[in-house]
Structure formats: structure tokens, C-alpha cells
């Protein structure tokens, strides 16, 4: 039985090691993609810039590819991720923005788990009947809504209608306490500032709900499918025959097994949730790396930030890879049949 604590270290360690080649591949691919058009690259990225900017750009990107890659690679590792046209350093800006996005994604994940999974259980219980169809319509509607549409409808119509704020993390640009984690709700709670905590939660609601609603289908559909596989099995009937009520049969016995695949899928797609934050943070003026990415790419006519864009792509890819890793580990933890050695 290879599931002791020391085996766990082996299990996690092996997977961490497997990360490295993938990360390297990500960095290389990003580099290749971003340097695909060497001629006129500078004109493309800085269409309205002056001559000196373009000259600097040409100098930097005119060097042989291998030199460029080496500079790029060492720069990445050394924390020098370049700067925008106006000279704002990429790394500090992104580091400051990251926690806000993490907060948003965690909030959305929480909603997806707490609402999506029970909905999936219900859909499986009433499979083929009205309950199933209603749940399906619900999550398919979420899936069919492009992020920008959901964000815009929420910001323009729902927010004002419900009196919920639609912009920023707090009602004032800077809150009157030190921000330790840069996660709005946690900071306000740590400062024991109740009105601001409530304010932070209020600001978090709409963007998190939109992000969760759009991606709810992942959790619900996987839960439903797994439950449908598990429910006809004999151990569910055994649990009923022990005299357990339907609720315990569903949640303690059936769902416990169905969750194995669902959590891994959730983990894998959690990385993809980041893509949604790009639009949502822009619409809701949420100060996270999604918004940073939006401007870096040149959305809505803003000046593109080449270094920033590359950094953003790498960070998002790393997030996906890490999320996959977490999902893999979770699977090994949850399924007792997996041998950790």
C-alpha cells in the first residue's frame, strides 16, 4: 500500500520535476511566437511612437536571435522583465496586480463548487426529467455567454438594478489601512474594518458571479456525468440498504467517488479561468493582471506593452501548468486506488 506520508513526498516531488521541462517549453514557445515577425515588429507594436523609441526598439530586437533569447531568459530569471513604452517596470507592476486576480479567481471557484456541484447532483438524480433539463439550461446559458457579454450585461444592467458597485475593489481609490495581501476582502478583514470589509465584498460580488456563472458548466456537467456513472453501482444500493437517507447516500457515498474526476477537471480548468479575468477585470475596473494584460495587448486602443504582453502570456501559462499539477495531486489524494510510489 504505497500511501504513507513519505510516499506522498515522492508523489509530489515526481510531479514537480516533470514541471520543469514543460515550463522551459512554455518560455521557448512564447519567445518564438513573440518574435515571429522580425521586420517591422517595432512598427507593429508601437504604431504611434516617435523615432527614438522605434530606434531603441530596433536596436534591441535587431540582435541575433540567440542573443535575444539569452537576454530574455536571464532577464526572466533575474526579475528583469522589461518595461513598457513609458518605462514602467513590468515585474513590479504585475506582482502588485497578481493578488487581486487570485482573489477574484478564488471567489469564482468557491461559487462554482458551492453552487455547481450540488446542481450536478440534482441533475443526475433527476436525469432525463425536468430537474435535469432546467439545470442544463442554466449552465448551458452560462457557457453560451461570452465573458464580455456577461460582464457588460452585469455592469450595465444588473449592477445598477441591484445597487451593486461595478467598478474597482473599494469605493474609495485607496483604503485607509495598510494592504498586506492586496486582496481586498482579506486586507479589510485583517484591518478589522467592518464597513470596508462589507464594501470589499460588495465590489467582489458582481465580477466573481459573472466569472462563476460563465464557467459553472464545467463543474456541473462533470459532476452530473460522474454521478450518472456512480449511481447505478452496487455500493450506492448498499448504502441505501444500510438505512441511510437519500441525502447521505448521495453526498457521503456517491459524490465522494464522483468528486474524484470533478475536482481534477476543476483544477485543470482553473488555469483557464484566468483567461476570463482579462475581460472581466477590464469591464469592472478590477486592478488585477487581467486588466494589465488587457492594456498590454493593446485592447481598446491602448498602447501595447510588448514586454508586458510576453510576461503576461508566460504567467498565465505557468498558472495553467500549476493548476494541472494541483489537479493531478488532488486526484492522487482523493482516489484511494492510486499508489503514490
Amino acid at each position: 500500500m504505497g500511501r504513507s506520508l513519505s510516499d506522498l513526498f515522492i508523489f509530489v516531488g515526481k510531479r514537480l520535476l516533470q514541471l520543469i521541462p514543460v515550463l522551459l517549453g512554455v518560455i521557448v514557445l512564447t519567445f518564438i511566437v513573440s518574435h515571429l515577425r522580425l521586420t517591422g515588429l517595432c512598427n507593429e507594436w508601437y504604431p504611434h511612437a516617435g523615432a527614438t523609441t522605434i530606434a531603441n526598439c530596433e536596436a534591441k530586437y535587431g540582435a541575433p536571435l540567440t542573443t535575444q533569447f539569452w537576454q530574455y531568459f536571464t532577464g526572466l530569471l533575474g526579475g528583469n522583465w522589461g518595461a513598457s513604452v513609458t518605462g514602467v517596470q513590468v515585474y513590479p507592476a504585475m506582482a502588485a496586480d497578481l493578488p487581486a486576480t487570485v482573489e477574484l479567481v478564488l471567489a469564482a471557484l468557491f461559487l462554482m463548487v458551492v453552487i455547481g456541484i450540488p446542481l450536478g447532483v440534482i441533475a443526475a438524480q433527476y436525469s432525463g426529467r425536468l430537474g435535469d433539463h432546467l439545470v442544463r439550461i442554466f449552465y448551458l446559458s452560462g457557457w453560451a455567454t461570452p465573458t464580455y457579454l456577461g460582464a457588460v450585461i452585469a455592469a450595465v444592467f444588473v449592477g445598477p438594478a441591484l445597487g451593486l458597485p461595478t467598478s474597482g475593489e473599494y469605493s474609495t481609490p485607496t483604503p485607509p489601512f495598510t494592504q498586506y495581501t492586496h486582496m481586498s476582502v482579506i486586507d479589510a478583514a485583517l484591518a478589522l474594518n467592518l464597513p470596508y470589509t462589507v464594501d470589499a465584498v460588495d465590489h467582489l460580488i458582481l465580477p466573481a458571479v459573472v466569472l462563476a456563472f460563465i464557467n459553472m458548466g464545467i463543474a456541473t456537467r462533470m459532476t452530473r456525468a460522474s454521478m450518472l456513472e456512480v449511481l447505478p453501482l452496487d455500493y450506492v444500493k448498499s448504502a441505501r440498504m444500510k438505512g441511510l437517507g437519500e441525502f447521505w447516500v448521495m453526498y457521503k457515498h456517491a459524490l465522494r467517488n464522483a468528486l474524484i474526476t470533478t475536482t481534477t477537471v476543476l483544477g485543470i480548468t482553473a488555469g483557464g479561468l484566468l483567461a476570463g479575468t482579462v475581460v472581466i477585470e477590464e469591464v469592472f475596473d478590477w486592478p488585477g493582471i487581467g486588466q494589465y494584460a488587457f492594456t498590454a495587448i493593446g485592447g481598446n486602443g491602448s498602447t501595447p506593452n510588448f514586454d508586458g504582453a510576453i510576461a503576461v502570456v508566460i504567467i498565465f501559462a505557468i498558472a495553467v501548468v500549476v493548476a494541472n499539477l494541483v489537479a493531478d495531486i488532488l486526484y492522487g489524494l482523493l482516489d484511494p486506488r492510486v499508489d503514490w510510489r
Partner: protein, 346 residues
Amino acid sequence: MAAPILVAKKDGPLSVFWRVLRANPLSFIGFLMVAILGVTALIVVVDPNLIIPYGPLQQTVARNASPSLQHPFGTDNLGRDIYSNVMLALPLDLGIGFAIAGSALLIGGTLGLIAGFYNTPGTIGGWTSVSIMRVTDIFLSFPSLILALALTRVLGLGVGPTVLAITITWWPFYVRLVRGEVLAVKHLPYVNAARAAGVTENRILLRHVLRNVLEPTIVYFTLDIGTVLVTYSTIGFIGVASKYPGPNPEWGAMLAFYQQTGSSNVYPWLVIAPGAAIFVTVLAFSLLGDGLRDILDPRTRRAFVRGTIAHEPPPEAPAPLAVASEAVTDSNPVAPVGIIDTGTRS
């Protein structure tokens, strides 16, 4: 063996298709919607004047008009008819969705077949397979929207480059999907039986494996059209693809334009119309795809149980002695329409 197996009447596949579709109402609605959208798109392409009264840039006297018979979705601040723009965008968006998903399917599917089938280690096929999968894995580490956005920056603005960018982002999904299916099917007992009978590997790939792989791939493709559409539209929203207002309107670009110019707060139909259009389109494909997935998965076919209660056994009417021959015998095996799975043997 499972509890009693139902015997299907000797129906052709088409009537089975209709019956199953009707039994699963949501997917039937999806199918209808897709059909309607397809026909409408066709009309718009072939003879736009049939249903589109105004050109996309044509300015009318009615400025910021509310929806009316003249302008079903209203007009914007320069009198452009929203309905016309939305309708003109339909074939563009649909066509783009199909083009991207289709290309990704062809490229990724082929690579996936190769990677899955010819993957014995140590051979050329083995090496190819491994390299394909490594590259695919790396591509898959990027969230598709981000990668596509980055690619558009490199490839340029406009519809063409965006389509190319998304296609490059998209093919890895099909590689992973098809390869997984091939691996699952490759060593099924009946495929091994074909091998034992002397069928060449290539023929096995084409005849047996391909057929099995086709089903889940089609389901995925149907759902994927919606996802591709959402991605393209989002890129349009971010402002990198189609130009709006322009001769080739696109829903995402429309929404972005009206949301950013601030007029949407006061004149909501400016965003509601294109938003509803894309929502309905993606929903149609999602319903169809999700329903197809249930239809094709034998484990979830139990969803087709409808409730009719029979209280008495059938009346004891005389029946021809030939009744025994209609039962399932070894000589005329008939595919079961639905299998009631009690999970035990009886």
C-alpha cells in the same frame, strides 16, 4: 447480464435518430435552432436584400430610435440600423466558427490519429508521436484566449490574421481528443480480432479506429463551434479583429463599440441586440452538442425514460404462434434500443 433488454423494431437509423432526438427535448431544440440559423445565414449570403433592409453603414434619419417595425433592433446615434448589422454579421461569425473549428479538426485530428496509432517506441512513428505530443502539451499550457491574442499581435489585425491566430491556438485540443480516443479503441478485443485475422495496421486505422473516433469527435466539434465563436468574438471585443463600424460587422466588435462609446447605458438595445445574437447562436450549438453527447453515450441513454404507467398486464388475446420468433435469438441479434441497467444480474 443486465436486466431485460428491449428489442428494437427493425427501424432504419434515420427514424431512430428522429425518435431519439424527440425524446431528448433540449437537443432537439438545439438542432432546430442551428438549422434556422444556418438557413438564415444562407439567405443573407445568397440574397441579403430578402431580409436586410439597410446596408451596414447606411445612415438613416432615425437617430437612436427604439426598436420599431421599421428598425426591429433600433438604430444608433448615426441612424445605422442595428438589425441589419446584426444580420450581416451572422454568416461571418458562423462561417468563421466553422472555418476555425474545421481547420483545427483536420490538422489536430490527423496529428492525433498519427500520434495515437503509430506510437510504438523506438520507431519513426514512435518518435513522431512523442514529438507531436510534447509540442501539443506545451501549446495546451496556454489559455487559448491569451495565446490567440498574442498571436494576433504578431500576425496583424484584421479578420484573416485573427482566424489564423485562433486556428494555431486551437488544433492542439483536437490532437489530445483524437489521440485519447484512438488509444482507447486501439486495443479493444474486436480490433485485436481484426489484427489476428490478418488485417494490416493501416486498414485497421482507417476502417475500425476511425469510425469509433468519429462519434465523440463530432460531439466535441459541435460544442467547439460555440467556443470558437466566443473566442473570436472576445477578440473582436478587445478590439483586435474586425473594425466596427465597417462593411463587415461582427457582434463582438459591435458590442465593444457601443459599450465603450458609452451610449449603451442610455440605449440598451445597442448592446442587447448583438449580445442576444451571439448568445442564441452559441446556445444553439451548445444544446445540440450537449444533447448529442448524451445520445451517443450509452451510459446516459437511460435519460430517455418517459413516464407511462401500466397497471394491468396485457389482455390475454390470441396471438400467432410466431411470437417466439420475434424474441432475440442468436441468429438475429438486434441492437438494443435502451438497456435498463439495474446494476445487477438477474
